[in-house]
Structures are given as C-alpha cells and as structure tokens.
Amino acid sequence: MMNKAFAVTLDPATSLENHTGSWRTLRPENVFKLPPCNKQCPAGENIQQWLYYAAEGNYEMAWRFLTENNPFPACMGRVCYHTCEGKCNRGFLDEAVGINSVERFLGDYAIEHKLSFKRPAKDTGKKVLIIGAGPGGLSAAYHLRRFGHSVHVLEAGAEPGGMMRYGIPVYRLPRNILDAEIARITDMGVTIECNHKVEDIEAEKKKGGYDAVIITTGAGISSNVDIPEGDTNHILNALNVLGEIETKGNIEIARRVAVYGGGNTAVDVARSLRRLGAEPIIVYRRNRDKMPANEEEMDAAIAEGIQVKWLSTITGATKESLKIEKMKLDESGYPQPTGEYEELPADAVVLAIGQNVDKSILDKLQGLKVERDAIVIDPETNETSVPGVFAAGDVASAKDRTVTLAIGMGKNTARSIHAYLRGVKYKKQPKNEDARFEDMHPWYYTDAPKTVRPELELARRTNTFDEVQYGLTEENAIYEARRCLSCGNCMECDNCYGVCPDNAIRKLGAGKGYEFNYDYCKGCGVCAQECPCGHIHMVPEKI
C-alpha cells in the first residue's frame, strides 16, 4: 500500500464526487423528428426505420417494419411514384436515396424467401365488410385482420387488385408479384369474393351481420370530353384500353393513336400501345412543366420514342386526322385558346383525361354524402356521413388518386374502425417536428452517388411487356439503404458519446441508444452540434 501524501496526492477518479451537472443552463434532450420521406409517404411508411434495418442487412426485420404500414412492398417498389425521394434530404448533399428500389428489393426478398404475415393472436369476433379489392381495400383488410377482426372483401372484377391489375401495365407490375402479395393477405384469413358486384351496401351489411363497412370501389370510369366526331374515328377511353390489354393480352386499335391527356394514365396507355406496335402520340394542352405525369415515367416514354404534342387541344376528329387548336398559358398557368389550328394525322384517340367514381351504388346508400366525384369522409377517421360506413382510396379522394395514397387511406381506415369497434373515436397520432436539412451536419456523411438501376436496353423495352426496371442486387440495396442520412433520428453513430468533453453520455449498447448523464453534463452543446442527424436539442434548464 502506498503511503500517500496529504492533499498533494489524490486517489484516482475521485472527481466523480463533483457533480458538474449543476453548471448547466442548457440541457441536451433527444428529439425524435419526422423525416421528410416519412412525412411525404402517402402510405405513411416509416421509411427511415426500415432503411435502418436494411442498411444492417437485416432484410426480414426491414420488411417487417415496412409492412407495419404497407403490405405491398414488392408492388409499391415498382409502381409507387416515390415522391418521398423528391423530399429526401440527401438530395441536398448529392442525390436522393433510392428508397423505392430498396423497397422493391425488400418486397422481392420477402417473396423469394416466402415470408408471411403473422396471423392475429386472437380473433375479436368483429366482422368488417370491404367493398372493392383494390389497393385501398386490401390495405384496410390487411390491417383489420392484424387487429384480429374478421374481414370479407367483395370484388366486382374477376380478380382482386383493382387498378393494380386493371390500370397498371404489366411491364410496370408483373402479375405474379401482385398475386404473391395478395395471397399473403388472404393467408392471414382475409376472404375475397370476386365477381360480386355490390348493388345495395346496406343490404349486404345487414345480410352478413357486419359491424362496419368500407367502401373502396375506386374511380373506374374514364372521363369523357366532347370531341365532335366525324365519320368513323375511334374514340376510346384509357381504362378500357388498359383493362383489355390486361385481360386479352393484345388488342389492335390503330397505328397512329393520339393519347389525350397529361397524367400517368396517359403515359401508361402510350407506353403500352408502343409495346403493341403502335405509334402513340400524347396530346396535352399544357407544357412539360405543368404535366402531372411522373417525371421518370415521362422520361422513359420519350426515350422509347413516344411523341408529345404540347399546348394542344383536340377540337375535332375525322377518320385520318385530328383538328388541333394551339394553346398558350396565361399568367396563372392555365391554357387559353389561341385560335390557331392544325391537323394531326391519327387513326384513333384514347382519352386519358381523368377518372370518375361509379356513383350508381353510392346513390343507393341513404345519407351518404358525395361531393365532387368523391365520398365525403371525416379526414381524421375516414368515416362517411353514414355511421359505421367508411371509405378509402380513389372513391374517397377526388384530388389525389394513386395506389400509394389508397394504401395509406386503407391503413388509416382500418385503425379508425379498430377504434370504432371498441367504441372509441380514432385520433391520428400527432406528428413529430420536421427533420430539416439545416438542422443536420452534412460533413459527417460520406459522398455516395445513387446507385443507378440497371435498365433494360431501350429497344427491348419498347416492344415487350417485360419488366422495364430490374431490381437492385443485394449489394446495391444495402449500399442504397446506407445512404440514408437518418434525418432527425438516432442511427447509433456514437458521435454524442464520443464528443462529450465530460463523458456525460452513456452508451447503452447496440440497439439501445444513449442516455444523458445529467449528473455531469455541463450543457456545452457539443453533442447537439455534432449530431449528424439533428437528433439532439438544447433546451433551457429550468432554474
């Protein structure tokens, strides 16, 4: 034993007696922020969370977290317009994370590895009827079944899938993928009855003894415009064309086909017809900037040789040509007629200017409020004006009609019904504050260009319905997942733990995060400053 000198010699680590936390005027706290991708996702996916696991190579965990919100990752990885990527903070750094392709990788991984959803632990005994087996209906069915409710889906068509089957071309979504993801839902115990068109909602409900009903009948009627038709010109509608391609495989319309409209359906039709050997030309009344169609899809269409006639309206049609009026945009971006006309040679016109809801069955339900081509629903609960009747998907959304939104609405409706069945009014979870790029520390992230998905050769793509985009390899998927900045939420980089000059942060071990040790934290703020993802806030200490 040492004979230690008084005061001059000290025992080790005795400073632990000195609780420097009392110096603090600012206090570090973890703040959980809403990443822009999650915020943007119409399906309400917790994208960042599943990327977190994908980055680790834990694909099953990633897929499980993904399917907490969306049961169709393989489908969505193909057809979702991934607006999340447009909001991705990584875009400020180099390029957005290829979220969509990682989602597809996970979806394909799950199919390949035959991952299934867990059946509910016990049944609640409640019964829910869903009318329409489109994405909204199936999403709702999936979530309701997870809660343990008994779910029956009635579908007017021959097969389930709705727009995913009858509106989206095969080259974008191979049907075996769709079938596999639907099968996984029915494997949970959801029953789907096809070729069953509901005529009287109230009667169906009563007959089956359902506790609640969701209307997810979609918007399956193409909008019409009045084009003065000469003799024999074909005027067709987009959904019919896409539906026929789906059911018959090949149809013959004409060689020169004008596709009228600027939305995604117009592009789908044009690209499908191109694969059937036609020479489609898109006619749109505004310009590219104002075009609602997805940019990538439009790029692909142009690359495939599809022509576009901008700033044009069709004012008349003859057997071999169309009468086009040139338009110009006014100050607010609306097209105005110029009085200038030209001829456009065309053998047929496909109208792709919008879709409408089939109101015939809705009108029969007493008290159901319908406005502007959509059922009116409570935005919080998705309940219609008829108690116990809910609605989701295109039928309840006049403005934004995408598969992704339908899936999100289906989920929200399921949650709402789950509350309703317990006699509680559903309230959406409050959102966390936004994770802004300005609050992050980009220096820490390494540069990595987005992995470019290998694409089929252009020539091959234009004349077959083979899938246009290959999925990511595992290597690329991990790479892409690791590009996630983890905006506003901890990714366990250990920076806070490392940079604290006072050792006042405890590391709790893998997956457990960190803990501030307020006994010693002096509130300097270095942890918050150096947190790459902006997960730490300094808040004034109450003194």
């Binding site: 040492m2 004979n3 000198a5 005061a7 001059v8 010699t9 025992d11 080790p12």
Partner: protein, 416 residues
C-alpha cells in the same frame, strides 16, 4: 572498508555508486563536474548496474528528471552548484513539495554576477527555504559518509537532501578516504522502498492543486516531517558510525568545546583549517571551541544551544550573507540561544573562493577575545588595498586596514 588516496569528487561518486541509485542525471557545472563524470563512467562501464545515466540539457532538466525518476519509484541522484542550483530552483521546491527523497550534491560555489566559479556558501544557503534538508560536509571523508547517510535520511523522512560540500576545496582535493564496503552499505541502506510512486498497478495522482482550504495544513505537515528529520539524522548517524567506525555526519560536531568561553561556529571545509588553528592557539594557552554545523536545515536549535552551553561569546564564521541584512547563520544561532546572555556575531569571510587560512581564524579569535566585535556583522578578510584602490578616487573615501564592522561601512556613507 577500503582506503584510497583519491579526489574528493571520485570519493563521492564511489559513495553514491555504493548506494545503487537507479537514475543519475547530470548537467555539467564547475566544480561539480568530476562527481558526475565519474558516475557516468561507472554506469557506462557496467560497474554501476541497473542505473540510467541521463545527460540533460540544463540543471532545470536535471532536477526535473530527478523528480520524474524519484516519483517513478527509484533511488535518484544528481549534483549541481551555484548558477545551476539557481537555474533549477523552481524544480528544487517542487521536489520537496512532492516529498521526493532525491539526494543532490551541491559543490558550493559563489553566485554571479560577477561570475565567479570559486567556493562560498551563497548558492546552498539561497535555497534555505526550499524545503530540502541541507547537510554540510567538513571534509571529503565526511562527504563520502554523508552522501551514504543522506539517502537513508531522505528515504526515512520523505524529503530530499542536499549534501553541501565546498567546491574545489573539497571536490578537487586528493585525500586518503575510507570507503565502506558494498556489504556494509547494503546492510546500512536497504533496497529502496518508495512511500508512494507511479505504477499502473495502483494509480494515484501526484501533485494536485491545493488551494487555501488545505495549503497551510500541507505546509504544517511538511514542517512536521522536517522536524522529525532531526532525530532521523541522529539515529542514522549513530547507526552509520557503528557499522563503519567513521566519525561523520550528525547535526553538529564539537571540537575543543569543553571549558571554552569563546566558540566558533563554522560550516564546511573551513572547519578543518579552524581545528588546526585551535590546536595552535591551545598550545599558546588560548582555549577556543569549534562547533561544526552539519545540519543547516533542519536547524538543530536544541543541539546547538547545548553545544554552546554557557559560553559568553559565539562567532559565526560565515561564507555568505544576506544583502541589506546581515549574516545568515547568526540569526539562527541567536534564536537557538534566546534567553541566554551569550553574545553572537558574524565574521564574514571566504567569499568567492577567498581562502580562509589559519591566520584568518586566528584573527577572528583575537578580534573576539579583544572584544572588538562591536557590531553583529563584520567583514573580516577584506583586502584593504584592493578596496581603497577603487574607493579613493571613485568615492573619495578610504577604509582603514583590518576588519570592517557594519557600522563602519555605514559611516562611510556620511563621509562620501
């Protein structure tokens, strides 16, 4: 035990070597050089094993290396003198404050400016308050023995020891020296067991910052250690003398003190000269006692009082003084004799290598016996010719032949 006719520095080097230091660090300064040169040779030749010899870049580094090695738990030795001691002064204080039992030889030499390499005591005495034990040697035999004892004293007390031996007069003098055998030294000085030292096995923090809340207490305990060293010096001396038969060390040593009414107090090598003169005086029927003061720090107040006894007069022959004040030894002696009627004064002599001869001692004794020490402080061995050669023209004054009392020096200010 072996007897050799060797230089004092070599004797000291051999003595230090017998103590098996683990680290010796050295920066050359006259007149200390021969000691560390010899030690360097011993280490390099392998005669002194398990010893690191560091050629450092300054005395400040020498003492600092010593602090490091002593805190690292090994027996440590260094040597210096004069300017070197001052250059290391900050570290000298640090060593004692940290309670490190370093042994250091000060081969005493005057301090410049003007630069002067010869012997007096102004260097060692300047470190009076450094917290080191300061032991003076009257001969090279005393130096050999005191160095060996110094390690034991330092390690027992837990403070560093300065062994002060007069530069050149001792360091460079060839004498017959009795050196104890390695077995004798090993029996006397056990393997070094540090009180506290740095080791990863038991981490401690040495050298904290101590504020007003405990600084006084730290100092009190340091003083207590210093006080305890009086007994340790006596015990160690007794033990050493028993083992070796040498009559060295101690707090002080008396010569011809029985029945002497006048006693001289002297530090260092002048003791030998004084003894010879005292013998001559005795033959003439003049009885003068001599107290060789060995321990200046700690100051042996009680032992000194006993040694002085009931003498009516004590003269401190001092080889350094305090500017603007008087002697350095004298006030301590006065403190020791407080309450007695003994008259105490200083005879300043032997500055900057000016030799103290038998005649110098004789003059001091006569001056005392004639009752001529009218002031406490008298400049004794002034060369009047040299002094007047300057003052006559430059200051318009001259000094009379002989010693100059403090009051006479003051009086010249009025005359000028």
């Amino acid at each position: 035990m072996s007897t050799e006719q060797i230089e004092g520095s070599l004797g000291v080097a051999k003595a230090v070597s017998l103590c098996k230091p683990g680290v010796v660090c050295a920066y050359p300064i006259s007149p200390q050089t021969h000691i560390v040169e010899n030690l360097g040779k011993f280490v390099k030749s392998g005669a002194l094993k398990h010893c690191e010899y560091l050629n450092v870049e300054s005395e400040f580094a020498a003492m600092s290396v010593a602090i490091g090695s002593s805190a690292g738990g090994v027996r440590t030795y260094t040597a210096t003198a004069s300017q070197g001691l001052l250059f290391m002064a900050e570290a000298v204080y640090s060593a004692s404050g940290l309670g490190l039992p370093i042994v250091m030889t000060v081969a005493s030499r005057a301090i410049g400016g003007p630069i002067n390499i010869w012997n007096d005591h102004s260097d060692s005495l300047s470190q009076r308050d450094s917290g080191w034990l300061q032991l003076f040697c009257e001969s090279n035999q005393d130096a050999v023995d005191t160095h060996i004892m110094a390690f034991k004293i330092a390690e027992k007390v837990g403070l560093p020891v300065m062994v002060c031996m007069d530069g050149f007069v001792l360091t460079h003098a060839f004498e017959r020296l009795n050196l104890p055998s390695q077995e004798q030294v090993d029996a006397f000085l056990p393997k070094y067991e540090p009180r506290e030292f740095l080791t990863p096995k038991e981490p401690i923090s040495i050298g904290s910052m101590v504020g007003p809340e405990a600084f006084t207490e730290v100092r009190l305990l340091q003083q207590r250690k210093m006080l305890s060293s009086l007994q340790v010096i006596e015990d160690v001396t007794k033990e050493y003398r028993e083992i070796t038969g040498q009559h060295s060390g101690g707090l002080l040593d008396c010569y011809n003190c029985e029945n002497a009414d006048l006693k001289l107090i002297i530090l260092g090598s002048s003791v030998g000269t004084a003894k010879d003169e005292i013998d001559r005086l005795k033959a003439q029927g003049i009885n003068v006692g001599l107290i060789s003061l060995k321990a200046y720090r700690p100051f042996p107040y009680a032992a000194l009082k006993a040694a002085v006894g009931n003498s009516s007069q004590v003269v401190c022959v001092e080889r350094a003084f305090s500017f603007g004040a008087r002697g350095i030894i004298c006030p301590e002696v006065k403190r020791a004799l407080e309450g007695t009627s003994t008259k105490v004064c200083t005879a300043l002599a032997g500055l900057g290598g000016r030799a103290i001869y038998g005649s110098t001692i004789n003059g001091i004794v006569k001056h005392a016996l004639d009752g001529k020490f009218k002031d406490e402080f008298t400049w004794f061995d002034i060369d009047t010719k040299v002094l007047n050669s300057y003052t006559r023209n430059a200051l318009g004054i001259t000094f009379p032949e002989g010693p100059i009392a403090e009051s006479e020096l003051e009086a010249t200010l009025l005359r000028a």
